[in-house]
């Protein structure tokens, strides 16, 4: 097997990397992708430029691996901006940040070994984009709601206010609140997901961070991206004050690439 592709796409702006250098891998895309990579920064910023390893119908976008790699803002942004550039011209499988290969031959082999899988996935993702939605509800509002609906919570709260009550009383109150808050957050998450799912082809739910109750990614047809954004805005409006919705997109399909 040659380290140098015998059939580079004539339209590709990117060139083949030096065969023996360790590489940082950004994404896999179709070899017919125009790969307009000019002006983009590389992860690690060690100079040199972005290039492509092409095998059959697939191209992996790479650059020389930096000697040291940490998830700095500059590097995360470089990784992300490259995905955004690629997705403007066609389907892309974004790599997780930080993937390295010892040389271009290893990259080429990886493309060949799973070429059917990657090509199928690219075809499935064609014309789609990812939206990520995170949502939180103000904790005080949740607690007030529990108090208003639970006589036991009101009793324990009155008992333990101003430093009164026993340790056991406080733990009992806290346990009741924690259980109730968790249940209410789960219900909220279900409601939100349900309202947006009809506009999505697929979804992946992640662990909500901190006081969020929701962290979900949707795969949406690009033709419906605007509609999806509007639906998200409508939903945020309907839930109203005390809620914090953060909708991001259109994004590279990180959650649907694997």
């Amino acid at each position: 097997m040659s380290d140098v592709p015998t059939n580079p796409p004539p339209s590709a702006a990117a060139s083949e990397p030096a065969p023996d250098s360790p590489l940082y891998i950004y994404a896999i895309t179709g070899s017919d992708h125009p790969l307009r990579l000019d002006g983009l920064r590389t992860v690690g910023g060690v100079g040199g430029s972005l290039s492509a390893v092409v095998r059959g119908g697939l191209a992996a976008v790479v650059s020389l691996a930096p000697p040291e790699l940490r998830p700095k803002r500059r590097d995360l942004t470089a990784h992300q901006e490259l995905q955004e550039r690629l997705m403007a011209d066609g389907a892309v499988l974004p790599m997780r940040f930080g993937m390295l290969a010892p040389d271009s031959a290893t990259v080429g082999r990886a493309l060949e070994e799973k070429s059917e899988e990657y090509e199928r996935r690219l075809a499935e993702l064609h014309g789609t984009t990812e939206f990520n939605l995170k949502a939180a509800r103000a904790q005080d509002d949740l607690l007030r709601e529990v108090l208003s609906e639970s006589e036991e919570a009101r009793r324990l709260n009155a008992l333990t206010r101003d430093g009164n009550g026993t340790h056991e009383d406080r733990v009992a109150l806290g346990e009741l609140l924690a259980r109730q808050v968790d249940a209410r957050q789960r219900l909220l998450a279900e409601q939100v997901v349900q309202q947006l799912s009809s506009l999505a082809r697929a979804r992946v739910e992640g662990a909500p961070a901190k006081d969020d109750f929701l962290n979900v990614s949707f795969l949406v047809a690009r033709a419906q991206a605007h509609e999806f954004t509007e639906a998200g805005q409508r939903l945020a409006r309907d839930f109203g004050e005390g809620y914090d919705f953060r909708l991001r997109g259109p994004l590279p399909p990180y959650s649907f690439a694997a």
Binding site: L76, H79, L100, L177, A209, A223, A225, R237, G240
Partner: protein
Amino acid sequence: MTTASGTQPVAASSSSGSGTAGLYDILELILDRGLVIDVFVRVSIVGIELIKIDIRIVIASVDTYLRFAEACNRLDLEAGRKAPARLTDIVGDMVESGARGTTGGAISGAVDGVVDAVGDFFGGDDDEEKKR
């Protein structure tokens, strides 16, 4: 899966990821999702593991219970939210920023340190813009 649309740029009005606040919100996608190829090496990055700790608090601990109880005891029971949300604010929050103004409180305190630790990996190289 059928694909009806082409690959023209999408004219959606929501922000994509590379803004300052936006990057923070999609950090987990960049670091923890995306395609992994097992013959490649994932560079060992201090900080990537930290982000995974930053998940919703495990409910079942006495410490958590006591923080909930304390937050509840401190509530001003008379003060509720009365005014409906102003449309522009909500839309603005959602599209432009990741502001967390409406949430927070005693219960989030435990993981703030972790978030700050992850935040330190940003801005170590350029402007000290941090989310928090």
